[in-house]
Each structure stands twice: as C-alpha cells, then as structure tokens.
C-alpha cells in the first residue's frame, strides 16, 4: 500500500445505503423506543437485543451459511421467548420486573456466548460475519436491505399513528384502560412484537450492544423539549432519523464506524438537550420574577364557571 488510494469524493456513494438505512432504523426505533422510555421501561430494549443473540447464532448453526431469514427468525424467537419468561417471572410478584429483565438478559446472552465459542470449533468458520451482529456493521448495509428497513419503519409508524389512542392510554394507565374494556394484554404483546422486530432488523446495523442506545436516546432527549406525548414520540422519531444521517456523515468524514458514532452523537445531543432546556428555564424564571411586580390578579387565579368550580394555586411537586 505504498501508492495512495484514489481521493475520496465529497459525497461518498457508499453512504447512500448507510445514511438511508440508519435514518430508517433511527426513525423506527426512536419512535417506538420512546414509549418504553416514558413508561420507565428502558431496559426492555437492551434485554431484547441481548436475548436475541443466541437465537441469531442458533439460526446460523442450523441453517449453515448466513441465511438471513433463518438468523432473523431465530433472533426473533429467542427474544420473544425471553420476553415471555420475563413476563412469567414478574407475574408471580416474587421477582421484580427489572430484576427479571436483567436476569433473563444475562442468561440468554451467556447462552449465546457459549454457542459462539462452540461455533469456533466448526469448519468454515465465518465468525467475522457473526461478530458483526455484536457490534454492528452499518457500513456493510446493502442497498438491497433497504426495503426491509423501510417496511419496518412503515409498519412501526403506521401502527403508532393509526392506533394512537390505544397506545396512549395503555402506556399511561393500563389499569384504567382495562377498566374501559380495552384489552391491554393485546397491546402489550403487540408492542413487544414491534420492538422485537425493530431489534432484530436493527441488529446488523447497531449490533446487540448498541441497539438499546438507538431505542432509548431519542426518547430521553425528546422528553426535555416537550411535555406532550404525541409530540414527544414524533420528536423521538425525528431525532433518531437525524442522528442516523448526521452520524453517518460524521463517521465517513472521520473514518469511524457509523453505529458507535451515532450513539456518541446521540449522547451529546441528550446532554445538550438537558443543558439548553435548563438554561431556558432559568432565563424564563428570571424574567417572570422581574415582571411579577404588576398588582392585581396573580397569574394562576381561577375563574369561576358555574357554582361548582373550585381551584387553588398550582404548585410544583407531587403529593
């Protein structure tokens, strides 16, 4: 390699699939994962991606050459099994939900590692390919993979948009939803299904280890910018997609792997969101304090409507 390779152009044609793929994945996983974030169930995505690992390897084991449907199917099955186990464990009440998640996740991933070391004995070893699923290889995203990603994104967004009222109520207050006659189990299972699908399809881009970041970072940052669920989910999807695009370009410019770059940028955005909104809140408080010299009504005085109205000063904090 003494001679120099040709110069890289301004727009790298290799980026077409990477940018589009990571944007689509970011959109789907950001929007979907944000709901888990708001329900304080962020660990779920991480657990599912780790739990998918043994199934992925088993698919490869049984069907030999990298048959993508076999691996994806295997990954989905083991993730689903893990989800079921978690549900079953925490149902009884003996094991807390987060403990159940961590437990199942650890066991499944451990099994995956055992399978992997067994595979190393096998002839025709193709572990370079399998290792890609641990850490992701976004650069090897083929253009022919893009329709799959697009379908996923379409499915997730479609489901979220169309059945929005159900998602909203089940996410916020499932007990109340059940009392209205809504089948909360169905929606929980449907959500898990969409999540598993996203995880399994996203594995080759982000890898087991980083997948949870794709699911959790957009939602966490969107939380700072809005207090409304609909807007928050939309913003999460948009953030995920943007991070994908910006991250891919950045990775190309700096010769870094795209997956980790996206995650690092996402984290920076998260910190920035926190910082900026805090700053804005302080500014706002200060101007309010300055302007609260005016006599008469206080800003939160209630207006009686009918004889039954009541009200009091709104206060921050909880009971």
């Amino acid at each position: 390699m003494i001679e120099a390779l040709p110069e890289s152009s301004f727009f790298n044609p290799a980026l077409v699939s990477v940018v589009t793929g990571t944007a689509l994945l970011g959109l789907a996983s950001g929007a979907l994962g944000s709901i888990a974030v708001f329900r304080r169930n962020s660990l779920l995505g991480d657990a599912l991606s780790h739990a998918a690992f043994p199934g992925l390897l088993a698919g490869f084991c049984l069907w030999g050459t990298k048959s993508i449907p076999a691996m994806v199917g295997g990954a989905a099955l083991s993730a689903a099994l893990a989800q079921f186990l978690v549900f079953f464990l925490s149902r009884g009440g003996r094991v807390r939900p987060d403990a159940a998640l961590a437990l199942v996740m650890g066991v499944f991933f451990g099994v995956g590692m055992v399978i992997q070391s067994h595979l190393q004995q096998d002839p025709g070893s193709a572990q370079a390919g399998l290792k890609d699923y641990l850490f992701g290889q976004a650069t090897l995203l083929l253009e022919e993979d893009l329709p799959v990603l697009a379908t996923l994104a379409g499915l997730v967004l479609g489901a979220l948009l169309l059945c929005w009222n159900r998602w909203k109520i089940v996410a916020f207050d499932p007990a109340h939803a059940a009392s209205l006659g809504i089948n909360t189990s169905f929606w929980e299972v449907f959500y898990a299904f969409l999540l598993i699908l996203s995880v399994v399809i996203g594995l080759q881009v982000a890898g087991v280890v980083l997948m949870s970041a794709f699911l959790v970072i957009p939602g966490s940052s969107a939380r700072y910018w809005t207090k409304r669920l609909g807007l928050a989910v939309f913003l999460s999807g948009a953030t995920g997609a943007t991070l994908g695009v910006v991250g891919s370009f950045t990775a190309d410019a700096l010769s870094l792997p795209p997956g980790p770059t996206i995650v690092v940028l996402g984290f920076c955005w998260l910190v920035a969101s926190f910082g900026l909104t805090e700053l804005w809140k302080h500014r706002k408080a200060r101007t309010e304090l300055a302007g609260a010299q005016s006599p008469g009504t206080q800003p939160t005085e209630t207006q009686p409507i009918g004889s039954l109205s009541m009200g009091s000063q709104s206060k921050g904090g909880k009971p």
């Binding site: 708001f38 169309l162 009222n165 207050d173 009392s179 039954l308 109205s309 009200g311 009091s312």
Partner: protein, 282 residues
C-alpha cells in the same frame, strides 16, 4: 320511585386471597340514583369489593350485576376514580390529555376523539375547577388537583356508576365540599355514586345510603337506618360515636345546617365552620 333495575347488585359475593376470605357472602343492592358510602374498619374488604366490582379480581363465589347485566358485558359503564393512582406522574401528558382518556373506551382502534368529546372534556375540567390547568403537564399538579383530574376523566367517561376510592383522604375542606357538590349534582342527574369513605362524621351529611362492611355486610340501606350504634359497634367495636346519627342528607341544597355555604370563591384558607373530625378509623 318505580322499581328500577338497581345500579349494582351483589349476590353471595365471596372473595378470598388464598384461603383467607376478604369478602364473605355479600348481598348488596345499590339502587339507581343514590349516593352510597361504603364504610368499614381496616381490612374490612372495601378495596376488595371495589376491585371485584371493577372486574379486577375474580370472586370465589357469587355474582355481580350492573344494571341487570353481568359486569363483564359493559365495561365502560363503571367509572373508577382511584385513591392514589399508580400512574407515573412524570409521564408526558397534560391534564387535558388525561381527562380526555375517559372517552377512549368509546373509540375504536383507529378513531380519534371527536370535537364533541373534546368539548365535553373541557366542560368536565370546568366542573371540577381545573380548566385553567388544562395544558399543564401532570407532574406540576398538587395532590388535590391530581384527584380532580381523575374525577374529570370519570366525568368524561359519562358512566352510569361512579366509584370513588377514599377521594377525601388528605384533601382540604374546600375541595371536599366542592367534590361533594359535584357528586350530588351527578346523582341528581340520575347517576349512581359509590364512595369508599373514611369519615363517619360526614356520612350523614352527604350520603343517601350507606353500606357497613366488615368482611361480611353488616348492614346497608338508607343512612338513618344503618348508622345505629349497634351496627357501628359491630363494625368498629364498642364506643364508636358520631355526632349526628340518623340525620339524613338532603337532596336539593348543596349544604346543610352546620356548614356555611361554599359560595363561588374558593380561597383555600376559607373557614367553612364544619370541620370533618378524625374520629373515624384511619
């Protein structure tokens, strides 16, 4: 009153947690259009009864009928206002969002709330007096306001039967009064209200009927009938006294004798005269 189908009918209802009975052989009829208090000591099974009525736990024996139908068949017809909800207060929703959810039972999978539903939500928020907080995220609410959000949600649901679980626990007098007024007006409009109540002193003031529970149903019916010293002793032990036993709640005026009128202003520190005493069991 004509012989209407009672709002709620429990027959031989028995609920047990494992081998331990929480409710035993309850026969309770709640007529339509009354405001009933459900009282009893700790561990009497009040919460269990509510849960059974809501269909959250399966009874070991007995039936529950809502307006003549078994409870499973029309789930939206009972609105439940929880005591302290297990809801995550940090969840990104506004007051209006939560109240609006009351109508979601009427929506299909793919539907959005109509303009009429939205209007009804604002109206409900007005009725409970938190319309000015409509766009506020719920984490900024005080305890009393949180309670009222759920009440508004139940109003939006527009159910036949409204069940409230200790809505006045730790709530200031002004709010308490206002809530009772609201509930009374609902009752007058033909709804049935069941309230798990902790304060024996105020039962007579506000409620038409009362059910006295201690795993078994000790007594139920109009207040004057039920709130006898004898019944109370059976439920709470000897020496239980209340100030005005047997004074029935009136139907039309929002307030009765010892209380001053609440008026339409609602300064929190306003002295209403009648202090709910803490004589009842916690």
């Amino acid at each position: 009153m004509t012989a209407e189908t009672p709002a709620l009918e429990l027959e031989d209802l028995t609920v047990a947690y494992g081998a331990k009975p929480a409710l035993w052989d309850i026969d309770l009829t709640v007529p339509k259009g009354v405001m009933m208090a459900l009282i009893g000591p700790n561990g009497a099974g009040k919460s269990t009864l509510i849960k059974a009525v809501m269909g959250l736990i399966k009874p070991a024996a007995g039936t529950i009928r809502l307006l003549g139908q078994p409870i499973g068949e029309s789930p939206g017809k009972i609105a439940y206002v929880p005591q302290k909800s297990t809801v995550d207060w940090e969840f990104p929703v506004t007051v209006k969002d939560v109240a609006l959810m009351g109508c979601f039972g009427r929506l299909g999978w793919f539907q959005r709330p109509s303009a009429a539903e939205r209007k009804a939500t604002i109206h409900a928020l007005n009725r409970v007096g938190i319309a000015h907080l409509a766009n506020r995220p719920i984490h900024q609410l005080s305890g009393g306001q949180q309670q009222r959000v759920f009440l508004a949600r139940a109003l939006v649901q527009d159910a036949e039967l409204l069940v409230l679980d200790e809505p006045f626990q730790g709530v200031d007098a002004g709010t308490e009064q206002a809530v009772f007024e609201l509930l009374s007006s609902l009752r007058d409009a033909g709804r049935t209200i069941v309230v798990v109540h902790h304060d024996l002193q105020t039962v007579a003031d506000h409620f038409d009927h009362v059910a006295l529970l201690k795993v078994r149903l000790i007594a139920s019916g109009p207040v004057a009938q039920v709130m006898t010293r004898e019944n109370l002793s059976l439920a709470f032990g000897q020496g239980m006294q209340i100030e005005h036993p047997g004074v029935p709640a009136t139907r039309s005026e929002p307030s009765t004798a010892p209380q001053s009128s609440s008026g339409s202003s609602f300064n929190v520190s306003q002295n209403l005269g009648h202090q709910p005493s803490q004589g009842a069991s916690p």
